[in-house]
């Protein structure tokens, strides 16, 4: 047993981190918030060229031929950088929807319960559906995740549910780890009462708990990627949602008044984490699934 990333996996993660740092750093993130632009098609194609969407497609079909463990490492990085757009749905559509693998098509999915769907206006296709339905725009809590209300949900996502939940969990873990970094950096810089606020135990303990939740969730995501077990995937989604949402809230708290401003990035992490927590598998659904599995295991 060697439950640690291989050198190739570490290299892959580092490569994606570098790509995103150069191509979608903080200035790009804030620019897309300011312009309210939808999916950046040029970035989408670059992600496609880097193999982001075709990662798990077999080489014979023009893909990279890697598996879920590699995919979660890559999605963790996208979550850290807060890359907007239907990353998971487009990845799942690779090899199914023309252009998805290369990043020339933007594919959305009806992965939320109820009548809302994300990134509908930018979508060239909907996962598992034959067309793109019309929808009324609604004001989205996340400035980088536009939402539309539709009359009828189209596209059956059930075949994609496990992978969708796992990759979304990986995005959440990346965001959770990023908010730990943001909190620690701010706590080390911001001085009150003549010392950095990070010297106060109350602040330290917030940061430590953020890391504990993120690390437990990260291990759950990696393990689920290795085993593909539906119960482990549900646990990974549940823990990653909690780590991302609570991590962003604690990060906001560490930032004090600054955390409540539009200028700080914290709210972007929190709002995206809220969106992702509703996608593919909610906490209630994950807990029910785990409860049934527990009862089965108790035999």
């Amino acid at each position: 047993m060697d439950f640690q990333p291989t050198e190739d996996q570490k290299d892959l993660r580092a490569g994606v981190r570098d790509l995103l740092a150069g191509r979608y750093g903080r200035e790009a993130l804030r620019a897309s918030v300011d312009t309210g632009a939808g999916v950046d098609r040029a970035l989408w194609r670059e992600l496609g060229e880097a193999g982001f969407f075709a990662l798990r497609l077999p080489e014979a079909e023009g893909g990279v031929g890697l598996g879920l463990p590699e995919a979660v490492l890559v999605f963790e990085e996208a979550g850290r950088a807060l890359v907007p757009g239907p990353l998971v749905a487009t990845h799942l559509a690779a090899g199914v929807v023309p252009g998805a693998a290369a990043g020339t098509a933007v594919v959305s999915a009806f992965d939320l319960d109820g009548p809302l769907v994300a990134h509908l206006a930018d979508a060239d296709a909907v996962l598992g559906a034959s067309g793109v339905p019309a929808g009324e725009p609604v004001r989205s809590v996340d400035p980088l995740t536009p939402l539309h209300r539709v009359a009828v949900a189209v596209g059956d996502v059930s075949p994609y549910r496990e992978a969708g939940a796992l990759l979304t969990a990986a995005l959440q873990v990346g965001s959770a780890l990023r908010t730990v970094e943001l909190a620690v950096r701010y706590a080390g810089e911001r001085e009150q009462f003549g010392q950095p606020i990070g010297a106060f135990q109350a602040v330290k303990h917030l940061c430590a708990q953020m890391l504990v939740r993120a690390e437990v969730a990260r291990t759950a995501v990696y393990a689920a990627a290795v085993t593909g077990d539906p119960g482990e995937v549900a646990a990974a989604k549940l823990l990653a949602d909690g780590a991302a949402v609570r991590g962003a809230r604690d990060c906001l708290q560490v930032h004090g008044g600054m955390g409540f401003t539009w200028e700080a990035d914290v709210h972007l992490h929190l709002k995206r984490a809220w969106v992702r927590a509703e996608q593919w598998r909610t906490a209630a659904q994950a807990e029910e699934l785990l409860a049934q599995e527990l009862l089965g295991s108790a035999g």
């Binding site: 047993m1 060697d2 010297a199 994950a286 527990l294």
Partner: protein, 385 residues
């Protein structure tokens, strides 16, 4: 990232299973928790069987009489013994997991030959004389004095929270040998025989009602200078070398046990109708997910330790302990919800476990100290004034 076990590891597991299936039915009945002499005999009997089968000191180095097993083999050993319902390490805890490894790492050849084989054979029990009434989380502020007198140290002071003190043969004792040095520097590590004149042990009852640990009073106890492990005034470093010796495996058996308990709870809830409460059912589901993740985190830490080949393990254990100790307490609070008023009866085994789970956020560094460790040493936040 690979969660499959090698062929060698699988063979090790298979052999262990066969042995456990043979030996466990031969064990005598377990003594009551308050019967310390009975517990000592029982735990040493189990240790003797492990020794005879070649499983004693599995994770100890070969030159210390151990088996030099990899962290993964140790993980498998702890997982399988818990799963099979084998006895807990019990009274041998300090000898096998702390004092022994400390002597193995820092002792002289004579010291290793004197103290290590009896631990492995199940002949001698050790206890840990570290904490004092005014030196708990702030261990380095300990005040028990050892003054040189010829070839002896003369020791005066007191220790507290000393598990197994009533039945121990030896105590790994931290004493202050230089009161004028900075507090981490003037400490030495001694092996003290528990039957030495001047040693008085007074059992302390825990909130669970049992005498789980003791106070120890030391009144001019004489210990030969030759029984000091490591250099004089170097005891803090000697202690730190082994405090994190367990390489991610400290809670393996307990995580396995918690997952089994959750299964029993689900069955109980199904039988008594509480399963129909969606709030409780979901809470059980979430705990199941959490303990599954904690098991994976254990495997992660063990794999990390294995890659660090021989090095002192990292401090990722603090992350695990923080998550685990709180999850364990929530597990037993949830058990009480499943049981309802029955959770007020001490005849329910879970009730004693619920009470004992309260120690997990205190023992071996409180959650608050662990959070400081995570914040300062992992995250790099500044130390407070």
């Amino acid at each position: 990232m690979d969660l499959t076990y090698t062929e060698e590891e699988q063979e090790f597991r298979a052999r262990l299973r066969v042995w456990l299936a043979k030996v466990l039915p031969e064990l005598p009945a377990a003594p009551s928790p308050d019967d310390w002499p009975g517990r000592r005999a029982y735990d040493l009997g189990w240790q003797r069987r492990l020794y005879e089968a070649g499983y004693a000191g599995l994770h100890w180095p070969l030159d210390a009489g151990g088996r030099g097993a990899t962290p993964t083999q140790h993980l498998i050993f702890l997982e399988e013994t818990e799963r099979a319902g084998a006895p807990y390490v019990g009274a041998n805890f300090v000898g096998l997991l702390h004092a022994g490894p400390t002597i193995a790492a820092e002792g002289t050849a004579e010291q290793r030959a004197r103290w290590l084989p009896p631990v492995l054979r199940g002949d001698e029990v050790w206890c840990q004389g570290f904490s004092e009434p005014d030196a708990g989380s702030d261990l380095a502020s300990l005040r028990t004095r050892a003054v040189r007198d010829g070839d002896d140290y003369v020791i005066t002071g007191s220790k507290i929270w000393t598990s197994h003190a009533e039945v121990a043969d030896w105590c790994e004792l931290l004493v202050r040998t230089d009161p004028s040095a900075p507090k981490h520097r003037g400490i030495s590590w001694l092996a003290m025989p528990m039957d030495a004149p001047g040693v008085t042990v007074r059992p302390l009852r825990t909130l669970a009602g049992s005498a789980e640990f003791a106070e120890m009073f030391l009144d001019e106890v004489r210990v030969p200078v030759a029984d000091r492990v490591g250099a004089e005034n170097d005891g803090w470093r000697v202690t730190m070398v082994t405090l994190s010796f367990e390489r991610g495996t400290a809670f393996v058996g307990e995580v396995v046990a918690c997952r089994r308990t959750l299964g029993e709870l689900a069955r109980t809830a199904k039988a008594n109708g509480r399963w129909d409460d969606p709030v409780l059912r979901r809470r059980l589901g979430r705990l199941y997910g959490e303990f599954g993740a904690l098991w994976r985190l254990t495997q992660w830490n063990v794999s990390e330790a294995e890659r660090s080949a021989g090095g002192v393990p990292g401090i990722g254990g603090s992350v695990f302990k923080l998550a685990y100790s709180h999850a364990r307490q929530e597990l037993y609070d949830t058990a009480a919800e499943v049981l309802g008023a029955s959770s007020l009866s001490l005849e329910e085994g879970w009730v004693l476990d619920r009470l004992s789970s309260l120690s997990y956020t205190i023992a071996a560094g409180t959650s608050q100290i662990q959070q400081n460790i995570v914040a300062e040493r992992i995250l790099g936040l500044p130390k407070g004034r």
